[in-house]
Symmetry: C2
């Protein structure tokens, strides 16, 4: 027991190590959703356990039955958000050669942006917590992103083999850079769109940087 509420394949346990049933899971989930909502509205610094409990119409004691503290709730939300990642990975597995490569790139960019639009506040705090050094959050970020990074990395190495990408490039670093760009742009795109860059132009532009860097080819 590491103090967190543990979710295995079938069973979830509360802070006392007791099994959580159907009803409990529902309450737990409502607490998580309220946490996400308040994170969006008030920001991380002003998020209070008491507020979360109030929002769900329950008592603080209930919150503590399922989570050690607010950070843990955010950690669980990060894990839930990460469940969407396989869909994005599937897109990356699409074709990268020829015309359809650019299409693949567009689909990936679009998917990452939608992922962020859905989980905005949670993902931001997740990344901050990881950057601040919290190993649990580092792990979630790593688990979420490494399939993406690894796929892109492999594709880049292929392009290097074909002589289209310089051997001076580190495939791993390039892949990480691209994912970094996608994430930051996904969290930032609304602000850019307020300043006159249309959404589709933005997607197209990111897609082309992605395509170019991954394949070493200029987009058609």
């Amino acid at each position: 027991m590491d103090g967190g509420s543990q979710t295995t394949a079938r069973q979830t346990f509360d802070q006392n190590g007791r099994a959580v049933g159907r009803r409990g899971l529902q309450t737990r989930q409502r607490l998580l959703e309220a946490t996400a909502e308040l994170l969006r509205e008030q920001g991380m610094r002003d998020l209070r356990v008491v507020d979360v409990a109030r929002a769900v119409g329950t008592s603080p004691a209930t919150f503590y039955q399922y989570f050690k503290d607010v950070r843990e709730a955010i950690l669980r939300l990060s894990e839930q958000a990460a469940e969407e990642m396989p869909d994005i990975v599937n897109l990356i597995d699409g074709p990268w050669r020829g015309q359809s490569g650019l299409k693949t790139a567009r689909a990936v960019v679009d998917a990452v942006i939608r992922h962020w639009d859905t989980h905005e506040a949670v993902l931001r705090v997740r990344n901050l917590s990881a950057d601040e050094g919290d190993p649990r959050f580092r792990r979630v970020v790593r688990d979420a992103l490494s399939p993406l990074v690894d796929r892109l990395s492999a594709e880049i190495r292929r392009a290097q083999g074909a002589g289209r990408v310089s051997p001076d490039v580190s495939a791993a670093a390039a892949a990480a850079s691209l994912v970094a760009m996608l994430e930051r742009m996904a969290s930032y795109h609304a602000q850019l769109e307020n300043r006159g860059v249309t959404h589709s132009k933005l997607v197209e532009t990111c897609a082309r940087i992605l395509f170019q860097t991954v394949t070493g080819r200029s987009a058609p």
Copy 2:
């Protein structure tokens, strides 16, 4: 008076609107540095005014003489960090054509990383606060980055004019994407370097993506 301690060309005022002299400026600066230090050590969520005061060996009342709250201190730190930006902008104004273009790109990447290494915690919280919608932080970010973005954007438009970059790309979006990539990688590079990507490989890789995207040319 908007409630913040205002710094004009020569004069700083405290929370009561009184002029701050030499001695006061020193105390104020020590409070700022302690804030930055604690931000690094404890993270944003656990940063307390009382801790900052204690760290400087002064009383909380002194802190409130200069800042409305912790956020404002972080805002001032962000402004101070931004004073380094002109140095980076100078680098961007270097040559982008031919061999030396890649050198320019490397210098820019390196400078951004060093900037982040110095102000790590402050810049992270600055960006989070901006993303969370705080208009004062949005403004600081904008003021800090737009010279960079604008320069890159102009250079990309030049490459478009010469037919080396597709007209389907938005120069503004591409420039913003590159800066987004640089920032995120700058805040992330230490973690990557722990996983076997050397620092120089990382710089080289980012520089090549930057060079390629800005000029439309494959790096030499």
